[in-house]
Structures are given as C-alpha cells and as structure tokens.
Symmetry: C4
Amino acid sequence: MEKPQDKNWRSKLHEIIYEADTPAGKMFDVVLLIVILASIVLVMLESIKSFDEKYHNILNISEWIITIMFSIEYIARIVTVKKPFKYIFSFYGIIDFLSTIPKYISLIVGGVHALAALRALRLLRMFRILKLARYLGASNNLVNALKASKAKISVFLFAVLIVAIILGTIMYLVEGEENGFTNIPKSVYWCIVTLTTVGFGDIAPQTPLGQFIASLVMVLGYGIIAVPTGIVSAEYTNQNKKDKKEGETIKPSVHLNTQVCVNCSTEKHRDDADFCYHCGHKLNNE
Amino acid sequence: MEKPQDKNWRSKLHEIIYEADTPAGKMFDVVLLIVILASIVLVMLESIKSFDEKYHNILNISEWIITIMFSIEYIARIVTVKKPFKYIFSFYGIIDFLSTIPKYISLIVGGVHALAALRALRLLRMFRILKLARYLGASNNLVNALKASKAKISVFLFAVLIVAIILGTIMYLVEGEENGFTNIPKSVYWCIVTLTTVGFGDIAPQTPLGQFIASLVMVLGYGIIAVPTGIVSAEYTNQNKKDKKEGETIKPSVHLNTQVCVNCSTEKHRDDADFCYHCGHKLNNE
Amino acid sequence: MEKPQDKNWRSKLHEIIYEADTPAGKMFDVVLLIVILASIVLVMLESIKSFDEKYHNILNISEWIITIMFSIEYIARIVTVKKPFKYIFSFYGIIDFLSTIPKYISLIVGGVHALAALRALRLLRMFRILKLARYLGASNNLVNALKASKAKISVFLFAVLIVAIILGTIMYLVEGEENGFTNIPKSVYWCIVTLTTVGFGDIAPQTPLGQFIASLVMVLGYGIIAVPTGIVSAEYTNQNKKDKKEGETIKPSVHLNTQVCVNCSTEKHRDDADFCYHCGHKLNNE
Amino acid sequence: MEKPQDKNWRSKLHEIIYEADTPAGKMFDVVLLIVILASIVLVMLESIKSFDEKYHNILNISEWIITIMFSIEYIARIVTVKKPFKYIFSFYGIIDFLSTIPKYISLIVGGVHALAALRALRLLRMFRILKLARYLGASNNLVNALKASKAKISVFLFAVLIVAIILGTIMYLVEGEENGFTNIPKSVYWCIVTLTTVGFGDIAPQTPLGQFIASLVMVLGYGIIAVPTGIVSAEYTNQNKKDKKEGETIKPSVHLNTQVCVNCSTEKHRDDADFCYHCGHKLNNE
C-alpha cells in the first residue's frame, strides 16, 4: 500500500524540526531547549549592572549568536511548511518572530530597555518542545477543568474586585493619608494585597478601627480562598470521571505520536496513520 | 389566545430598562455598565490629591453629569413599575437611591469625605446588569454550596476567633510592649494577621519564645486553611450531583429569559410564558 | 407510667442552668453569653494603657462584679448536680474554675500580668452555650473528618518540620548573620514563616543564592498547602457519605434535645425519653 | 516445620537494631530517637553565639558522645547484615554515614561551618524509626496520590515559573532600579514571593502601574493555588477508592510486621511468615 515518497530535503527537514519521533528530531528539540534556556539566562545576566559592565562584550556576542540561530530556525520553519502563512500567523509563529527580532531592533533604535520583555517571550517556545503525549494528556484534563469553571471563576473574581473596591474605599476613609492610605486606588491595592493573603506590609493599618476592619478583610480572604479551590477541585474530579468512562471504551486501542502534517500542521496522528486525518495529505512514514 | 396589549410608552420603557432580550434593552444595559464604571473611576481619581488639584472642574462636572443620568434612570425605574414602592424598598432600589444622592448631599453639607464610600456602592449595581442566565446558573450552585456550609463555616470562624484571642493574649504576655505587642487587641490583630497567613510584618515577634509560639500559630493557620476549603469543596460537589439529577429530568425542556413582570417585578420567565408565573399579569410578548 | 417527681428548687435550677429547652433556661444562656463576652472585652480594655489609666476604677469594679457572678454560677452548678466531683473535674468544670479565680488571686499576689491569659480562657465557656443541635451536627462531621485524618496530618506536619530544619540550616549557612539569619533556630523560624506563606519580611534573604533557595522554599510551601487540604477534603466527603447512609435508616425517627441528666450529666436525650439512657435516672420531664 | 536456628549474637543484634517487634527492639528505637533529637538540638544551640561562648565545652563533649554513639550504631548495622554493601549504599546507609562523620572531619579541617548542614541530615534518620505500620499506611496513600499527580504538578510548576519570569521582567521594566527591582532575577524573585502569597515586603512596587500589575499577579497567585489543591484532592480521593476496593478483598486477612530479613534487608513480612518472601532466607521467628 506504500506509495513512492517525495523524500527531498524539505520533507526531511520538516520531520526534524516539527516532530520528535526520529533521533534527529529529538536532538533538534534538545538543542533548541538549551538555546532557549541560555537566551533567557543571558537576558537575566544582562540586567545585572555589575555583571553587564564586566562582561558586556561576551553577553553581546552570545546574544547575537542566539539571535542568528533563532533566525535560521524561523526561516527553516517557514520554508519546510507547505502553507507558510498559516504558520507565520499561528500562535507559535508569532512567538517565534517576536523572540527573534529584539536584537535586530536594538541595532536601529539602540539598546532599548523594553526589548527585554520581548525576549522573555522566548520561554513560551519551550511549551512546544514539551509536546510529549504524557504531559499533554496530564494537562488536558486540567485545562478542561479550568475551562469548565471559567464562568464561575469570573463571577468569583468580579465579586472579589467589588469587595476590594468597597473595603478599599472604607479603609481610605478610616485610616486616611497619614497612615499610608494616600488615595483610593492605593487603598484598593492594599485591600487586594490583604484579601489574597500576600501582605507586603509596606502599607499597614495603624488605627484600632482600621486594624479591626483589616482583620475582617483577612478572615474574609482566608475564607474565600476556599471558593476557587472548591470549584477547580470539583470540576477536575468531574473531568477525571468522564475521562475514565471514555478511556474504558476508546483509549486503550490508540496511540498518538508527535508527527505533524507537512501540509496543514495538524498534530497527534495515530501511529498507524498513513494520511493526515485533517487534510488527507500523505504523512512522512518510512 | 392573544389578548390586545396596552403597548404604551411605559411598558416599552419597562422592557428597555428591566430586560435584556431586545436590542434596545441590551444597549441600555451596556450604556449603564459604562456609566457605572466611569463613576467608579471618577471617585478614585478624585481621591488622588495631585490629580484632583489639576482637573478639579472636569471631575466636578463629570460627577454632576453622572448623577443626573442616575437620577433620570432612578425616576424612570419608579415610573415604569406598577408597584413603585416594592421597587423603592427592594435591595436594588435602595442601592440605586444611595448611589444617586451623594452629589446632592454635598451641595448642602459641602464636600464631605465619607460620601466616597456611598459612591463606591455603585459597583453593586453592576450585578443587576450581569443577570445573564449563564452567569446566574454558574453562581447559583456556588451560592447554594456556601449556604449549605454556612453553619459549619460559622463554627469554624468562631473557633478561629477564640484561638486568635487566646494566642493573642499569650503573645502579649510573652513579647510585651517593647516588641510592638502594645495591648491585647493589637496582639489579637497580629494573631489574625498570622493565622490567615497574611503576615504584614509591621509587628513581628523578637524573643525566641515568641518566635516559637508564632511558628505554632503559622503551622496551625496553614493547617486550618484546609477546613473551609474542604467544606466548600465537598458541598459544591454535592450541589453538582443534585444539579445533575434534576437536570436529567427537568432542565432540558425549559429555557428561562431575562423578562421581568411589569406588575410584580418577578424575573426569569419561560420563553413561552404569556403570563407571570407569580402574579398572573400579562407579560410583554410581541 | 409517670412517677411522682421530686420537683424541688435544685432540680428546677438544674434545668435552668444545664438545659436550653425552657424559656428560663434560654434566658440564662443568653445572659451568661453576654457576661462572658463582657468579661473578655474588659480584659482587652484593661491591657490598653491609656484606657486603663483613665477608667481604672470602673474596670476594677466591673471585673469584680463579673467575678462574683461567675462564682455564683460555679457554686450553683456544683450544688445542683448529684455528683459534684464529676462536674468539678470535667473539662468545663476546670474551665469554669480557672476563669473565676484570677481576680481572687490578684487580691493576694497583686496585679500579676499572667492572669490575663487565664481570663482569656473564659471564651472557651461559650462553646457550652452554643450546644444547639444544629451546630453540633454541623461540626461533628468536621471533627470526625479531622480525627480520621489525624495520623496523616501528623506525618505531614512532621515532614514539614524536617524540611524547615534542613532548609533553615542551609539558609543560615548561605545568608549568615549579617543578613539577619543570626542562628539556626531563627533560620528555622524564618523557614516556617516562608513555608506557610505568611512572610513577615522582618528577616529576608539578601544574597542571590539565598533568594534562589527562598524561591524554592516558597514554591514548595505553595505546593504542599495542597496536601492537608486534599486530606481533609477527601475525609470530609467520606464522612458525609457515611452520614447519608446512616441518615437514611436511623436519623429521621429520632430527635435529640439539650436535656442533661441530674445524676450523671449525660447530654442529648431523645425527646420522648423518661429515663437517662446512660445511668437509668429519672429525667426532668413535665 | 521449624528448622534449628542459628541464634548467635549477630542475629539477635540484628533483631534489636532493625526490628521493632521485641521489647529490646522498641527500647533501641526509643533511645535512638532521643539521641537524634538531642543531636539536632545541639547543632541548633551551637549556632547561637551567646550560648556557644558560655557552654562551649559542654556542647563539644556532648557532640563527641553523640558522634561515638552514632559510630557504634553504624558499625553494628554493618556487622549484623549479611550483605553489608547493600546497606552501606542504601538511602539510609548513606544518611547514617553522613550524619556520623562531621565531627571527625572537624578534627582534621577545624570547625568548618558547613558541617552544620550535614548534621541536620540526622533528622532524616527519624523516619526509619517511625516505620510503624499505621503511619506508613497513612502516608502510603498520600505518597501514591502525589506520585500520580507528579506529571500534572510538574506542568503546573513549569507554567508558574514561566509566568514568574515574564511578569518579573515586566515589573523590572515598570518599576526600575529606584524602587528595589534592581535586576531581572530579583524581579523574578519578587514575582515568586508574590505569586505564592508569601509577600515579604522587602521589595514592594511603588508606582501606580507597578501596583496595578502586582494586583493582577496576586489575584493570579490566589487563583492558581486552587490548581495543585484540586489535583491532589482528586487523586487522593481516587487512591482512597482503590484502597477501599482492595481492602474489601485482600487486606483483612494479612497483618504485616516490622521484621527485616537478615539476608536481603527486605521489610514488612507477614506475621506467620517463616521465610523471606523476597530471597527465601529463614526469618528470625522464635
């Protein structure tokens, strides 16, 4: 049933870059992971003044090396896909682009500070590499549970915000400017700090009445932390039950791998699949 | 079966103000939401000294515009309901009144500080607008779970309070005034700050014995946070199960909309309802 | 079947003091609750220096009044029970005694500071009054869940302690005395403060390595908070299930009241009980 | 069926040291527990400067006594096992060795500071003593639940780390060096402090925008604490269910004791076992 395959360099490169089933593909993923981590460490080290002054040249050169590596990878990704625009405007396509350009921009504009944030986006790339079935399976249930409880958590967060604004306004009136509650936004900020049980202590109530209200806020915050936990917990148990039922009938018979269709970039094909289940294109099976 | 309808301006206005099923009704809700949010932002900006000094006139005029809009809305609500007193003394009626008057009072009394809190109440109005069936459905279960665990949570909070008072008194004796534990109420306040894991750090034990007791308080607080979470989690799972059972028999066949009876202000009628299920008054169906 | 009853003043007083089924019994409980709360407020006010200086006499007199009221109550309780020693050495008997004596001791020894803690014990008395069936029913499940998870929580707390000691020692070595980690016990204290997510901030790591380890401690603490919550949550769900099963067969047919046997002080007899289920003594039914 | 037994001193000593079923074995465990606790207290006291100066000699002598006791125990353990290398390179073998040597090293190198951490490892020894079936049974389920949720918790922690790095970078750009966010690693540290709701307050945002972002971080941290709790809670309930099913069929008929095979150090044999279930060696039954 095997048709003669067009095994040119493009489809081979596609297999290496987008999949993790072959030794070369795994190697590529590991190298990419290391480069991404190195680039994040570089951004961090650069921000430490004393370090940057000493090793400025080394940091600069390393950053250029990494930028060039990312550029090559980005171009390779575009070249090997059949529908490059689909990749360019996909989530990872944009992330890849944004994490490559900062150094080029700095050439034109000079060392702009704000580019550091852009470079931090590189971390998001790592999620692509961790596309191992086991981890995805693990987080899928979690993602489903979070999706199912989205509406409830929104209502909850909205209620928390209203409580914070009302109590913040009251604290502003009770404590006043002399105790650090300079204005209502700052009071609301303090209220969120307290409700979430973070408690920085840079602003703290000084009057007895203020401390009494603060106690109420804290106990309230301590109590309502139970609400999102209860929601997620219940939904997650639900998802697990569903999963179990489905698992009994369907799951045992299928195994999905990390192959990606050259044509439409769909992932997770069956091990015995010859054609993409989404667009019908021939898959790279040897 | 359709009786001739009294479709005068009052019933039309009622439909716009109280319901969200027609385009005009939705528009009204969105505009109201924006005005409420704007009024909250205004109160906040006014409390920032430097901002208030610069733009005092603009803030004052904006506040008057919003107050007048709220006044018109309040009067419109009274006029369009058949039983105005029922609305006036309802929860939202009082909220609407209290969030409208502060500016009028400031005319007589002068810029009283405490009115800011009153204006913060405007946020509560937003809940009326978010009366979408989906959100209500989502939070209903939560509200039921919280109601069912009310007695248990009361016992729990009471126990926490007693622990806080006893441990607070002990800390007052151990640490004494020289380390910030000036009196028992302040010690109890510190104890609540610690039990709830907020930990401002404005007061912190300095003696070894005090730090040892503080460690016990923290571990205790860390442990008992499990109690309300466990309660809410269990009750919420219960509510979901009940919901599922009921859902299987009743829910699928009914769909409730946001219509409100002109006569008795009852909400959530069935889509195919012609008369109010509560008072039997004709509903505004076209 | 009714035998002639010995309805003298002692059994009548017993009914008032120990039970909450008659109007007089309820009145007594409410008055006692108020006196206890007042006595706690007094202890607190006394600890506030500025307040004590102004109103020393009033506080002193009020404290004497409350002490005398507690003394009368204590004697009445002893007199009306048939087995006074059983009451005296019961949990509440000791609490009642300890919360009555501090003022008498202060006559002999002078205003000793440490008596304040003794007086704070008075709050424990309130639990007796809240012996309403509803609350007991509510907290019983909770108490059972906590009992069932006692062994697990002990292991958990022991593990937390070991982690705190090891990480505390490491932090002492990394940060050293110059950054506030003066000795190992203080480091362990800091570690508990951080693990429980309290975070006072009176001691905080200053070196990069210390901050890195601190991050690990925090994430660890953030993660392990899930453990006791999960335990209590699961046990509580278990208890509820058991309760439901038992409830279906036994509960609906019995109603327990707050009556207390004059002879053996056993509580919670059935509404239709004529004799104590524990010692067989005649109950005070009219 | 009883074969003549080689009941020499070695096998007797083995029973005392490794098992807790005989009175002598229990005694040994209790003494060891006390010595370990004493050694930990010693390390702590030594680190308190003022205490060490006063009682240096006493501390030094006590430390030597404990070290010698540990040495004897370590040698006895090696001598009584048939395969000493298996013990030496086992988890507890290494712990025993590391917790014995620090004092000997200090003889050669002088009072090196870092040895304190090594001595803190002694606490890990205690776990061996607490090998009572009840506790192991209790924590086994917990350990299983944690194992089952390992992959999910890894994904969760990884996501938290990425969020911390990205938000930390943003905070570094927003707040800058003048407000304590000196470099990105420090900002990330602050972000972890805030996300985990610890909130030391040594670094706190000062600009309105920074406080706004901080509020988002806190609410996020407050929300995501629900995730690990939900996971552990659900898995733990699962483990309990499994346990119940197994318990119904297998458990009631078996009782495991703390006996340890002299040959292969396997633990938890059945009460009626005559031979090791792992290597078939004769067990020490009298």
